[in-house]
């Protein structure tokens, strides 16, 4: 008896068009996630080394200044986590195309939820920066 596929009544029964789109989305999620992961990893390495080298200088400026200078590192860390989640979501969409089990849809949207929460936080930060710039110009 083949136990590898879920019973028929547990599959979503997606049509060919949806499966095709899900397959393409999964592919581009994996590509985007992998590249973002690589770039963010390199950036963290670079900024991390710079921060480690300038630690004494940063602390001499005061703890608040030192913490503010670590904000870019936090943002890059956010992009790194986002890259991981984007890649994971792509894998879940690929599994969904193969087996159409509702669990894969849940897992995919769980990963996408994290991706867009990070997007929301970073978007909020950029909006704050834009508003401060607008306020500064006035």
């Amino acid at each position: 008896m083949d136990n590898s596929s879920p019973p028929y009544e547990q599959t979503l029964g997606l049509d060919h068009e949806t499966l095709g789109v899900a397959d393409k989305l999964g592919r581009w999620l994996r590509i985007t996630g992998s590249i973002q992961l690589a770039l963010a990893g390199l950036a963290i390495l670079f900024f991390g080394l710079s921060a480690a080298c300038g630690l004494t200088t940063m602390l001499s400026l005061g703890l608040v200044a030192a913490l503010l200078m670590l904000i870019p590192l936090l943002i890059i860390g956010g992009y790194l986590l986002q890259g991981l989640r984007i890649q994971a979501a792509g894998e879940q969409f690929a599994n969904l195309v193969d087996e159409q089990h509702p669990d894969y849809l849940e897992l995919a949207f769980g990963r996408l939820h994290t991706v867009f929460v990070i997007e929301l936080v970073i978007g909020g930060f950029w909006l704050l920066e834009s508003l401060l710039e607008l306020g500064g110009q006035k």
């Binding site: 509702p102 849940e106 978007g123 607008l134």
Partner: protein, 133 residues
Amino acid sequence: MSDFNPYSAPSAAADAPALGRSFELSDEVRRLVARTSMVMIIAASLQLASRVIDLFTTEFDEFDVALTALLGVVPVFILLAGAALRRMATPGDDQNALLTGLRRLHVVFFIKGLILLLLMIGSCLTVLWTFLA
């Protein structure tokens, strides 16, 4: 005797696509999709607001305007994807909602992936040029 008539005219209803099909999803999954779509809508709105403000505060040249326009397309499609997926919060036309949402997400990650790919190639070429020059 069977009621099936092999000579009967084809029914339009039988040939019509399966519209309005609802998936067998648990309430938990529907809540997750609804939460994700709401986060998408809010995130896209914040990004769009930030780009609109930047248009007024920053002096752009033609390249910057083109880049901002391209990057502005991404949050628009995130917003549209979130709006489409929000329909899956209640049982209804899940098939079309999922298809529409996934199509728009595909555009988002296609553009993002392309930009990141070009960024990575540009960085590698810059490093290569630095060593060769």
